[in-house]
Amino acid sequence: MSRVVRKFTRSVPQWQPRVTPVNLAEATPEQLEALQVTPSNTKVSDYVLTLAHDVESLAVRSPLFNAIMYDPGGMSRAERELGALAASMVNRCIYCAAVHADRHAKLEKDTAVTDALFDKGGEAELGPRNRAIFDFARKLSEAPPEATPEDMQMLRDAGLAEAEILDLILSSALFGWANRLMHVLGDPVRQEAEA
């Protein structure tokens, strides 16, 4: 029996699609190429198999995602994860929030920031740099976006360079996209332990 996870957690749940994923055995050559299925790599997640229904989007989104989150220079990886987490909290994407809180904690070798955010949400006590980053990303993620020139000034006052601010915009906006796939097309679930 599985139950839907409704509270933010760093413990990454499983993802259960609300639509039927593409059957790998019936995938088209275009889908196989976007899925990067090779004889030595036949493991594809249900999430990616779900997105393979729109293979043209999947094929361009994966390299874009990797560039925004992992390309060198600009903002640190941990701070990009904080931008992703802020978006995921606004959109209540429990799965995305878990993955990116976990990555943040591992990169920082410290759970304090994500513990505080999951415990107190936007009211969490954060240092001035994390505060400016989280608030900007959170407000940019609202619909419509609520970030203001004052929020931008807070980033600059906290010492962020232009390249870092741009990376923050990109990483938090990217999760506006990812959340609307992950949270809309499936449920975060965990297997119930036998009583």
Binding site: H53, D54, E56, S57, V60, A143, P145
Partner: protein, 159 residues
């Protein structure tokens, strides 16, 4: 093509200065964002959603976010679906009320999306592939309009 010619930077009005310099270092990302725009708005295989309908919904989502410039970017391609760019239009006249309502909710009330929102589309006869296509459209627009909003703030304007 220079990064400045991509949709996000052009719509945000970035023509030079420190923002353009930062963007030039991420030119690959802005180029891939335009490739994503092409894949989501003008796919070779459009499924149940014509390019015109996709453009109209994109303009609608941009307007709902208060972004007239991005809405204009899409509206010219909306053809006979252009009426749907008006957020007050329900889509009932086009037989698209369910699609429009879902797009609005996915774009603007993401956290409130529930399993029933998907099963309602399935019950209305949408294929799972079309449901994924519709999500990608709303989701990509959510990304692109926030990149534009952030760039405007960097430039010194309001979002």
């Amino acid at each position: 093509m220079s990064a400045l010619e991509t949709t996000a930077l052009a719509v945000a009005g970035i023509t030079g200065g420190t923002v353009a310099e930062a963007a030039a270092d991420r030119a690959n990302i802005f180029e891939m964002t335009d490739a994503a725009e092409a894949a989501v708005l003008r796919p070779l295989y459009a499924g149940g959603f014509s390019h015109e309908l996709r453009a109209a919904l994109a303009a609608r989502v941009a307007r709902q976010a208060g972004d007239a410039a991005l809405a204009d970017h899409y509206l010219h391609a909306a053809g006979d679906m252009a009426a749907l760019a008006d957020p007050d239009e329900t889509g009932a006249a086009q037989g698209l009320a369910g699609v429009v309502a879902f797009c609005d909710k996915a774009a603007n009330a993401t956290k409130d999306i529930a399993p029933e929102d998907i099963s309602t589309l399935q019950d209305a006869g949408l294929s799972d592939a079309d449901i994924v296509r519709l999500c990608e459209l709303a989701a990509f627009l959510a990304y692109q309009l926030r990149v534009v909003a952030g760039l405007r703030l960097m430039r010194g304007g309001s979002a």
